[in-house]
Symmetry: C2
Subunit: 289 residues, 2 copies
């Protein structure tokens, strides 16, 4: 089964909330709205690619780790979009969750997706129980305090912001965890895989800056030009477009060089270079080497 | 070590957020504010009491389960207090978290506490890794969709409310999980312990109704008389005080009768009856039988 199908099925399985327990319908609908249809699923795709590079037949815990990371990413988008933060009207080309439902349901759907991520991991660990603790430790560190995506968002509430801590926590942490969790769920040492994920996280941050400058709002499903309007740091505004693209490509190659020794290293190299071309707006992308 | 000290230490350990990772100070301070000083810690005390009834020397996972349940309870209080829900100014005798900090930090601190609960469980499972999956499954079900405390809160957003689903999810689920998780972490079958926890959850709901009617706001640290003012269901307003107390006492005895066969059943009976007297305002409490 190809990775995308595997990830979508795993997400759908996680969101098959059992009926007949008196479930509140709006909450369940909102949780699905937050996850489907998805974005590029770039983090879970990285997780599955690393797991496949580490093991010929990765256990269900690998796909569950990929799905958990995507559920946590979706939860963070829902909470970041709320009026007290970005007050975003659109997400993935349609009304943001709190506009489609309401703020209260958006708050609770985000909470419930965080819980669901860990619940799905626990469910999938039946075949490899001894790996569950490590995978949860990797995933939780990438999300919570002191340096996960929630901590990254919390920098927006501080009078003095550490830009490097902000970006590392807000974007880098979940990419690094996607690689480490995929490896750990496949029985490898997750710690060896952080360096790769961190570089991809940085590359993604630059790609996001590029899209904010050149993309069409319809193409990426959310408003563009926000960094300039809000005075936020942006690699293109700081370095210029050519240097920003060069830096992105350099980071992708640096990531590829950090792939630890594993059976599927060649396929993983190709996967990462291929994904890199998807990061850029169509008119800027060059075919993978 | 007595249970209260054990629980407070475990919570303190969970909240020893590592320094030097560029942590955002407000978030970390807010997470501690949400947890210390605590309330009655009645759920984690139940969890530890059940674990001790099941095993002479329960593993660290038992105390971690107790702490995780309290962290999730505190997270739910922070989010329920937000302006979009209860808009509560006070909690535990001082400003609610979003009043002491701000809404954004309250949102993120709640999120981070949810993550921390699962992270703490994973950390504590090193000595008993095979039990982690079941304990997480029990705890997560009590918090998320379709029937955990988040689902309970989500009933407040529905045009038509199922009162029994609402109360079971909002209050009963976490009590039931406290008993089941304590047993499961101690190596027993958690499923046999739900009935006890559910009855205690119902008893707690009635005690909360009683406190809302007769207590002094200073004594319980939050406003009273809210149910009558907001037209919310309340057992005292429905049944009268004498019948409400009788119902509470009946539920506590029903809970005691549901204690499964275990080495420390007698001590657990005494614990539950003792805790029941703490549920009521001082002037109504009768000494434990």
């Amino acid at each position: 089964m190809d990775a995308t199908t595997q990830i979508e099925r795993s997400l759908a399985r996680s969101l098959e909330i059992p009926r007949g327990f008196g479930e509140p319908p709006l909450l369940v609908a909102a949780m699905r709205y937050a996850v489907f249809p998805g974005g590029a699923r770039i983090r879970p795709r990285l997780c599955v690619a690393v797991a496949r590079a580490c093991a010929v037949d990765p256990p269900p815990l690998c796909t569950a780790a990929a799905a958990a990371i995507e559920l946590l990413h979706c939860a963070s988008l829902v909470h970041d979009d709320l009026p007290c933060f970005d007050d975003a009207a659109m997400r993935r080309g349609r009304p943001s969750l709190h506009r489609a439902f309401d703020q209260r349901i958006a708050l609770l759907a985000g909470d419930a997706l965080i819980v669901l991520a860990f619940q799905s991991l626990a469910r999938a660990a039946v075949a490899s129980p001894s790996r569950l603790g490590k995978v949860i430790a990797i995933v939780a560190s990438a999300v919570g305090a002191p340096a996960g995506i929630i901590a990254g968002q919390a920098w927006e509430c501080e009078p003095q912001v550490s830009l490097s801590s902000y970006q590392r926590a807000k974007t880098g942490a979940l990419f690094a965890a996607a690689a480490a969790a995929g490896a750990s769920a496949a029985g490898h040492d997750g710690a060896c895989w952080y360096a790769l994920g961190e570089r991809l996280g940085e590359a993604y941050q630059i790609a996001d800056d590029i899209r904010d400058v050149v993309s069409d709002a319809v193409e990426i499903g959310k408003p563009t030009g926000r960094d300039a309007a809000l005075g936020r740091p942006n690699a293109v505004l700081r370095l210029g477009m050519a240097s920003a693209i060069e830096r992105l490509e350099g980071l992708v190659e640096a990531a590829v060089e950090k792939i630890p020794d594993c059976p599927g290293a060649n396929d993983l190299r190709a996967h990462i270079r291929g994904e890199a071309t998807r990061l850029l707006p169509r008119e800027l992308a060059r075919p993978a080497a």
